[in-house]
Amino acid sequence: MENFKIAIATDFNDALGGRSKSLGPYSGEAFYEEVLKNKFEEAIIAGEKLHIYLDGTKGYGSSFLDQSFGELFRKHGDKVKNNIEFHTRLFDWIVDYIKTDIWARK
């Protein structure tokens, strides 16, 4: 049972932007502030995992990922690694990139 989940394409947008809101719409910063941060904190309070569905978007830039999932990691540390589960058939390399690069350093 997944009580806490985000399908990025439907809960945010299918075409994603860059790092910050000042650079254009649907940025990593906007996703973090409007969707990811709150959902993650709700899941943590409830003692559950947050499930992230990556498919359905047109792709992910490194700046978007850093300003959202990287920012979450910088705020909550290793709790993020243990409490987020990614689901994808298309973006395996994105999951690798988040885990091995973005979450490898603060």
């Binding site: 947008n13 299918d14 075409a15 994603l16 932007g17 860059g18 790092r19 910050s20 000042s22 650079l23 254009g24 719409p25 649907y26 940025s27 047109k58 792709g59 992910y60 830039g61 490194s62 700046s63 978007f64 850093d66 990287g70 910088r74 298309l90 973006f91 690069d101 973005i102 350093r105 603060k106």
Partner: protein, 285 residues
């Protein structure tokens, strides 16, 4: 008033590149605010080179310069048609040029995901029917870098052109931002000491390899260019050329060939995409 005579071969390639860049640079020289542009000798230019010229005109006009066209165009189909449309003149010879009238190229001042998605979708014109996800990422990195480090504080556009060759089933892309350029961005932010005496090509190559992380100095930055490099090395785009500041790089046979050039204040990329690039990604996936 300074007259700038554009060369016969206004091409950002091979032996013509230095002259083309020097001509572009004249349009933003200091202490001059009025230019006459003479295109009468131009015989050869590509659409992508014309777009770079338009981007430089935008930058010059944003600086408050006044531009006039003098002389006629060379006779002969395509070039005359393109230039006549972009550089028509009023009776006072001032270039009648409104940025909103330039419909030939994609452009924007920021990163608009819907525009990128549309450009990727256009690959169907060369038979790529499935969505080429890495190309979306490629463009997002490219445009994100241009906006963040190049044009945001100048209020100018990034520009992109597509030349579709339906016979070869290839699209040639040209992208340019007339910001500071990769090397100058790093220098402005303060290069690490070990780069104090390094060539521009070393700075650019290390930016792409990830050894020189970011001109923002923030520890979590600088992943965009290495991401681009990975896609280039995997063969998801072909025939890449980068021109920025005093260096031109051409990716061929798994290596960058480096050429020193006059300072190009901005960042230029051109590359090709065909079904082989798409198949390489599909196979790897």
């Amino acid at each position: 008033m300074k007259t700038i005579v554009f060369p016969e071969n206004f091409l950002l390639e091979n032996e013509y590149i230095s002259e083309a860049i020097e001509t572009l640079s004249m349009m933003i020289s200091h202490n001059i605010d009025s230019y006459e542009l003479d295109f009468s000798k131009v015989k050869n230019l590509r659409r992508g080179d014309l777009m770079v010229l338009v981007a430089q005109i935008e930058k010059s006009v944003k600086r408050g310069n006044q531009l006039k066209r003098v002389g006629n165009f060379q006779d002969g189909g395509k070039i005359k048609l393109m230039m006549s449309h972009l550089f028509s003149v009023k009776h006072d010879k001032t270039i009648h040029w409104q940025i909103n009238d330039v419909n030939e190229f994609e452009r924007a001042e920021n990163l608009i995901p819907e525009v990128i998605a549309k450009i990727v979708k256009d690959l169907w014109k060369i038979g790529i029917r499935e969505y080429f996800y890495p190309f979306n990422t490629f463009l997002t990195e490219l445009i994100g870098n241009a906006v963040e480090h190049g044009i945001k504080d100048k209020e100018i556009n990034w520009w992109l052109d597509r030349e579709v060759n339906r016979t070869d089933k290839t699209i040639k892309f040209t992208f340019v931002d007339m910001g500071k350029g990769i090397v100058e961005s790093h220098k402005k932010a303060g290069l690490p000491l070990k780069y104090l005496f390094s060539s521009d090509s070393k700075v650019v190559l290390d930016s792409f390899s990830g050894q020189l992380r970011s001109s923002t100095k923030l520890p979590n930055r600088g992943r965009g260019l290495p991401q681009l490099m990975e896609m280039i090395e995997k063969g998801w785009v072909s025939d890449l050329v980068i021109i920025t500041n005093s260096v031109s790089l051409q990716y061929k046979d798994d290596n960058f060939a480096v050429t020193d050039i006059p300072n190009f204040r901005g960042t230029y990329y051109s590359w090709n995409i065909n079904s082989n690039n798409f198949q390489k990604w599909k196979t790897l996936k």
